[in-house]
């Protein structure tokens, strides 16, 4: 493959996936510039792989896996919580951002968006990320399984149970 072809394919993937990855990172690191840095880092990794002649079967799952790992690395570096706490919390699964008070540079979320993130966050850690990836980023159970290093069957079970729990919460809330 020629360099121009690689660039063309890379740009297409970048344009398609960069917003999803930014959103995924932003909602977890709560800092726009940091999220941008992580997104740049992830795509730089893909760029190197493509230029190194490697073929990636599922680029979307690959990019989200990198994002997932980078976010865990970021939390570890941040040292706001101990590594033990990270491991206790289901192997590094982090809550999604839904604060009410935001700084001026941050994105302002609607009350409905905050409510969804809050309810997802209130779920048990095993359901949080699968539900976010399934319903916000529209990833398939197979892709989610690749990202979280679980079996597709486990991912499907978690999605189904997570939906049930989420329904219960919204149902209770609307009563």
């Amino acid at each position: 493959m020629e360099a121009s072809q690689i660039k063309q394919i890379f740009t297409r993937t970048y344009n398609k996936e960069s917003d999803s990855l930014f959103r995924y990172c932003y909602l977890r690191v709560h800092d726009r510039e940091k999220a941008i840095d992580i997104v740049q880092d992830i795509f730089a990794e893909l760029w190197k792989k493509m230029n190194g002649g490697e073929t990636i079967k599922n680029e979307r799952a690959y990019l989200f896996t990198l994002a997932h790992n980078r976010i865990i690395d970021w939390y570890r570096k941040k040292k706001s919580e101990s590594l033990d706490a990270l491991l206790e919390n289901d192997e590094g699964e982090r809550p999604f951002d839904h604060p009410d008070e935001r700084s001026e540079t941050d994105i302002i979320l609607s009350s409905e968006a905050k409510s969804v993130l809050k309810e997802i966050d209130n779920l048990e850690p095993v359901y949080r990320e699968v539900l976010y990836l399934r319903f916000v980023e529209d990833l398939s159970p197979q892709e989610i399984a690749m990202i979280l290093k679980i079996t597709p069957n486990t991912a499907s079970v978690r999605i189904t149970r997570g939906i049930e729990k989420l329904r219960e919460k919204f149902h209770t809330q609307n009563k």
Binding site: E2, Y14, I36, W47, K48, N51
Partner: protein, 219 residues
């Protein structure tokens, strides 16, 4: 719930952020395995070989030549060495966006100093003026492009931008006089050099302070 999900999906990168990230990535120096193999005769064009050769020459000549050409002006015998060897070498060694921006700002200021000195000597011919103006504009453009690549979370980009603006402000009067073709006197240059020294001293002090605060943070 669907509205909430749709609202979350509206969290996106801005167009300029998207373009900035893409440009930063595709400009990364990566050698593709599909790129044609270079022959041994391409040694002269190899970046590493280029720097090594220059360092060797500089070491062999005791650095005298490199030192002397730093003070050369357009039209001088050593000026091509300054523009085509020592300055590109600096550019190669400035391998971070911040270092690149700093170096391009220095280069832009060098061009202005050259124009000032030539104007003082009454040797700023239209050809030399056009060439210096072109080089100056290129350096300013490269400086601005490098600033875009610096992560905004560090505040370094704003700092470098402010420092450059300050240096330019100090030279406004001289630039205007050169543009209008006025003859410069000896003390004009001294005055400008003095203000430039003051600017670089304050920049150094701010760097030292930053270094101290970083050390403090590390502790």
């Amino acid at each position: 719930m669907n509205k909430g999900i749709n609202d979350i999906k509206n969290i996106n990168l801005t167009h300029s952020e998207k373009t900035r990230i893409l440009n930063n990535i595709v400009e990364m120096p990566i050698v593709s395995p599909y790129a044609p193999k270079q022959s041994i005769w391409n040694f002269a064009f190899n970046k590493f070989a280029y720097v090594t050769s220059i360092l060797l020459i500089v070491a062999m000549t005791g650095g005298t030549l490199a030192y002397a050409d730093e003070y050369s002006l357009p039209g001088d015998m050593l000026y091509p060495i300054k523009r085509n060897i020592t300055e590109p070498m600096h550019s190669i060694l400035a391998n971070t966006p911040s270092a690149r921006a700093e170096w391009e700002a220095t280069k832009a200021m060098r061009r202005l100093s050259e124009a000032e000195l030539l104007a003082k000597r009454n040797d700023l011919t239209p050809e030399k003026k056009t060439k210096i103006e072109k080089d100056f504009k290129n350096s300013v453009a490269a400086f601005r492009a490098s600033l875009q690549s610096i992560s905004t979370s560090t505040g370094r980009s704003e700092e470098l931008g402010a420092s450059f603006e300050e240096s330019m402000k100090n030279r406004t009067d001289i630039i205007q006089r050169i543009s209008s073709g006025d003859k410069l006197e000896e003390n004009d240059i001294e005055l400008e050099n003095e203000s430039e020294n003051r600017a670089s001293t304050s920049q150094k002090e701010s760097r030292d302070e930053r270094g101290e605060s970083r050390e403090g943070d590390d502790r």
